[in-house]
């Protein structure tokens, strides 16, 4: 990771009287430091990678304060790190992408929650849900319920979010329970401001050591302690939490004059709710709403008296709760029943069961609620017109546009080293027929999208090989599993490779070794070569594989499409039994460009010789069939209007973003595609010899004078 987060690190140092400006996830990072956190760990993933990136760069600050930071090997490792808070009054926080990270962490989380904590333990979750998400759509809420971990869903407002982090630590400590705080994608990336406090040195840290280890049988998750822990959860911890939430008013009530109605919303949806109310003229710019609102910054546990108190005397209340199942709507209904209140609860009857509650969805849903509840003093007759006028332009655009606007699915970057592997697979399939491909999580998952459509299943991070276990025996040909280097170290080495070896699986595994955890922002992984302290790690994928007994192992440079095809063909057809592993190796192009660009720029400025390589398509020989594009999908391999009066179809064209990886030429070769591709090397700051040779060649070859040809 060659990016610099110096600017962000600076904002972590702000103190009393300063105003912080920045992204939500950075504000939360600052809040951890203001709360006297002792240790932080986590695993990268959108939308919370930024916390890991910035803390990795904030080494000096963390050292000064004595805060321990670790880039954990997986979310499970991060969750287990919170074990420090079981026996010792140390505040700790871990971070990952949810729900996938929470799935991975859930074993440790269950044990942690059962044992209970004495130091505040926070789990910061980037809720990867809705537009822009890259994972399965589920709710974290279920984990909170089943493990008795408190769940916060703060209102998107920097000062509130920061304050709630501090409160969450206190809540965790008074109730001896870990606390999850979930932030949606847009909240993590939300830019805002808050007044800072000084950072607090942790009471226990590398600089303030514990005297000796503590032992307490009650903290061990083995019977008989597990029975008393389960009882403690409901008898002691839950009441303590409810009492704290009530006393410190973690949930917010906003009064309004239409008292016969009410809205209860998850804190994270407060702004969107207000936005929709504004549309109907029921709220002003500053959030003053005519309908009273209860914003649940804590969505588990609910405070029964708070909910019943809010609902009492109201005819109808709308529960604004995103995702399914509707845990909150059910819980609110139960509370009202128990309190014998007859307030009608609306929720998923007027709002969609599934999907993100974007502006238009809430606008329509709240409109339906108003229509059903038809409060006195509001003309509900005009509601429909109001919605119609808002979406009129949308309807009209649908009529005017030539059809649905083509989607832009994410794809491999220009020059990505993973693309050639899939070009090779696609070409090989033309030769030997379809192969079952067990895909994995990482940039390489984009192979399942156009133009490749390669990959039959995706089962989770690092689980590509494991997911092929039962398919292999059921097919006549071997299966190919894909695994990224990130997934390999996360769990693929054990769940996939050692499992396949142990069970004598006869299949093929391709490991993408590009040097980083690329999809999440090029974070370091064991095979990067160094860790965040710039210490060499000496860990390689090949040595790990050999160490556990892989015998058929080939390393191929990914850009050699022909060689990749031959190696794959051999792996699929060899008579040798057992697991065949191909390490497809080449550095992540994003990281590479970030690394070499400044060097090249400097060389050019210093007048040093630099050779720039890029590829091109001859417009006179391109026939416009675009088969090269269907085998590549490179963003810089595109089309342009045909300059030929006779031809109509657009021709292939390499634009100036080309980084010269050479895949298009390799594919044209391997597929015996077409002779239109050329590689051009431009010699910048040429030497005298270069110039002399060039002049000679131009004079002999084209009979032209070198100085007068060319173009600006």
């Amino acid at each position: 990771m060659e990016r610099s987060f110096a600017r962000e690190v600076k904002s972590l140092r702000l103190g009393n009287g300063d105003v912080f400006h920045g992204e939500g996830i950075l504000a939360i990072t600052k809040a951890l430091l203001q709360s006297g956190v002792s240790y932080v760990g986590g695993y990268q993933g959108a939308p919370v990678s930024h916390m890991m990136d910035v803390l990795a760069d904030a080494r000096d600050l963390l050292d000064e304060m004595g805060v321990h930071f670790e880039a954990s090997a997986s979310e499970a490792a991060a969750a287990a790190m919170l074990g420090a808070s079981i026996n010792y009054p140390m505040r700790g926080a871990v971070v990952w992408k949810s729900t996938v990270g929470t799935n991975v962490a859930s074993d440790a989380l269950s044990n942690l929650a059962s044992a209970g904590v004495v130091g505040g333990a926070l789990i910061i979750l980037g809720e990867d849900y809705g537009e822009g998400a890259s994972i399965i759509q589920e709710r974290t809420h279920a984990f909170a319920l089943k493990s008795t971990i408190w769940l916060l869903d703060p209102r998107p407002h920097h000062a509130t979010m920061v304050n709630l982090v501090e409160k969450a630590f206190e809540l965790s400590e008074v109730s001896n329970t870990p606390v999850m705080v979930e932030y949606r994608i847009r909240t993590c990336h939300m830019h805002g401001r808050f007044p800072c406090k000084d950072n607090q040195r942790p009471t226990l840290s590398r600089k303030a050591l514990l005297e000796e280890p503590a032992f307490d049988q009650e903290r061990i998750t083995l019977p008989p302690s597990t029975y008393s822990q389960e009882k403690a959860k409901v008898e002691k911890r839950l009441p303590a939490a409810i009492e704290f939430i009530r006393e410190h008013q973690l949930n917010e009530v906003f009064d309004g004059d239409l008292t016969e109605l009410g809205i209860i919303c998850q804190g994270g949806l407060y702004n969107s709710t207000i936005q929709a109310l504004q549309h109907y003229g029921l709220a002003d710019t500053f959030g003053k709403s005519r309908i009273p609102i209860l914003a649940l910054n804590v969505t588990y546990p609910l405070v029964p008296e708070e909910v019943t108190g809010f609902c009492a005397g109201k005819r109808a209340v709308l529960m604004v709760e995103e995702g399914n199942p509707d845990y909150l709507e059910q819980a609110v209904n139960v509370l009202l029943r128990k309190a014998d209140l007859n307030t009608r609860i609306h929720g998923k009857d007027v709002l969609p069961q599934a999907g993100e509650y974007i502006a238009e969805v809430l606008l329509k849903g709240i409109g339906r609620f108003l229509e059903k509840a038809s409060p006195a003093g509001i003309d509900t007759g005009g509601l429909n017109d109001s919605i119609e006028s808002a979406i009129h332009a949308k309807t009209r655009a649908g009529e005017l546009l030539a059809g649905p606007v083509p989607k832009r699915p994410p794809g491999f970057c220009t020059g990505c080293p993973e693309r050639p592997v899939f070009s090779a697979i696609k070409l090989l399939e033309k030769e030997i027929g379809k192969v079952h491909i067990a895909a994995d999580i990482g940039c390489h998952t984009f192979s399942t999208l156009p133009p490749f459509h390669i990959g039959n299943t995706v089962l989770g991070y690092g689980l590509g090989l494991a997911s092929s276990a039962a398919v292999s025996p059921a097919l006549p040909s071997r299966t190919v599993s894909i695994m990224g280097d990130g997934g390999f170290w996360h769990n693929g080495l054990t769940s996939g490779v050692s499992g396949a070896l142990f069970n004598k699986a006869d299949s093929v595994l391709v490991i993408m070794d590009n040097g980083y955890s690329s999809a999440t922002g090029q974070q370091y992984i064991p095979s990067t070569g160094v860790n965040y302290q710039a210490q060499p790690t000496g860990m390689t994928i090949a040595s790990a594989l050999k160490g556990i007994g892989v015998r058929w192992l080939k390393t191929v440079e990914t850009y050699r499409v022909g060689k990749m095809m031959r190696t794959l063909r051999r792996a699929l057809t060899t008579t040798k039994p057992g697991l065949k592993v191909i390490i497809a190796q080449s550095e992540c192009q994003l990281a590479r460009q970030r690394r070499i660009k400044p060097t090249v720029r400097k060389k050019l400025a210093d007048g040093k010789r630099v050779v720039r390589t890029r590829y091109g398509v001859d417009e006179t020989t391109c026939t416009g069939d675009h088969s090269c594009i269907r085998l590549s999908g490179c963003p810089s391999l595109t089309i342009k209007p045909n300059p030929d009066l006779l031809r109509i179809d657009p021709i292939a064209h390499v634009d100036n973003n080309c980084v010269g990886c050479g895949l298009c030429g390799e594919v044209a070769d391997a597929a015996v595609l077409c002779p239109s591709f050329y590689r051009a090397r431009i010699i910048q700051n040429p030497s005298r010899w270069d110039i002399w040779l060039d002049r000679l060649r131009r004079r002999v070859v084209f009979n032209t004078d070198a100085t007068s040809s060319g173009s600006e």
């Binding site: 546009l401 594009i629 006779l646 050329y678 010699i683 040429p686 110039i691 040809s709 060319g710």
Partner: protein, 500 residues
Amino acid sequence: MNPSQRPVCVLIAALGGEGGGLLTSWIVDAATACNLPVQSTSIPGVAQRTGATTYYIEIFPQPFDQLDGSDPVMGLYPAPGRVDIMVASELLEAARALENGFVTPDRTTLVASTHRVYAISEKSNLTDGRYDEESVQNAIAELSHQQYCSDFLIMAQQRDSALNAVLLGLVANTKQLPIPTEAFVDAIKDRGIAVDSNLRGFQAGLGWTPGREKEIDEPVQSVPAGLPDSLQRRVDALPAVLTDIVRVGAARVMDFQDIEYAELYLDRVDKVTAIDSAKREYALGRETARYLALWMTYEDIIRVADLKSRPERYLRVREEIQAKPHEPVLINEFLKPGVDEFAAVLPEKLGRSLRNKRDRLRWLSFSLRLGSHTILGHLLMRLLAGCRRWRRKSLRWQEEQALIERWLDAVCRAAEKDYAFGLEAVLCANLNKGYGDTFARGRGNFLRILESLIESPLRSESLEPDIATRLKSARTAALSDDTGAVLDAALPENVAVKPD
């Protein structure tokens, strides 16, 4: 403080890697410098990898010191009908904004660059899958309140700047934000990223006025070469609407072989135009002239070597890769002629026997990274190009001429019976394109269609009235996927003409 005042809402649509994040930061920084409440958000995620993404900003027009400590509650989502400035970095992204209802006539100023970055579905189409730009222009005209639309990418490139800086200048230019111009300039300076070039771009956007910027260059059509008088006279004798395309066609054919071959081209064109009519604007003749010329100048290795070793090609490459005049450029060709390609240029008998031994002769096909900039490489290419004097004897020549005659004959007979049918038969020639497997597949499809949907119906007593439509749908099917599955479904069942 005025509770009825509303924030100004800005939505930015961009592609991953285009700098939409930096554009957002500049705007946020400028608003912050003015002490205005501002909130922005984005959904980068996987879209960072070349997908479409958006950034959303709300700016409250009253500074904090006039708000008595209250914070406006600002939205995280753009709402239909509530966007004041819609910025789109590309035309299709503007279309997407329209499709989602974020551009409304009462409120939205649209700032959009009208250049195209093609989506994968547009690029990978077997013919032309480009989205209809005119419909986007029409929707923009009807649905936006004000337009700041032009090819701003060119504008940025001409100033050696970046598109996002030009877009920032345009946002300032719209005067819809409660932020003075200097604040944007300071924001660019304070961020410290490529300050000079970004300021250049910003000023360009700021100074832009509709209609003054040069419109998108029409693609440069290749200049028709001059023809010998004898040929020119024949071209001039044709209906006026045909002269341009036939002149280009004849010149192309002559360039491919010789004047005699060009005369053959004109003979063939005449044959078709003879049955064409002015009433139909000579569509049949025009399309025949087009596809016939392309077909007659088929791309064998002689042709490819010829085209790749010309001085104008060398200059075109230099221009395309933006090499400066003093910089040497080395060009390597990715050539991998297979057995079929060799066989094609050999004399008929020899070629056939080579082709029959295709499987044993795979080693003949090897990758050639021919350096066409080198003296030796160039000479080799010219040597190959020079083989055209023997081309008339080659296997492929024989095959192509025979098939061309067969196709033309079918076209004429079809057009005489049903003009639309004849025209569709002409257009089927577009299936003959590409190289290697792509060509073999296309040729195979062409033959199947020629046999089953053109020649076979012509042999029957009377034509079915919908034959033109059926032919058209078969042609479209052949071009809609490259496995042939769609075409299989579209063809009569008993047809199995295999490609050679």
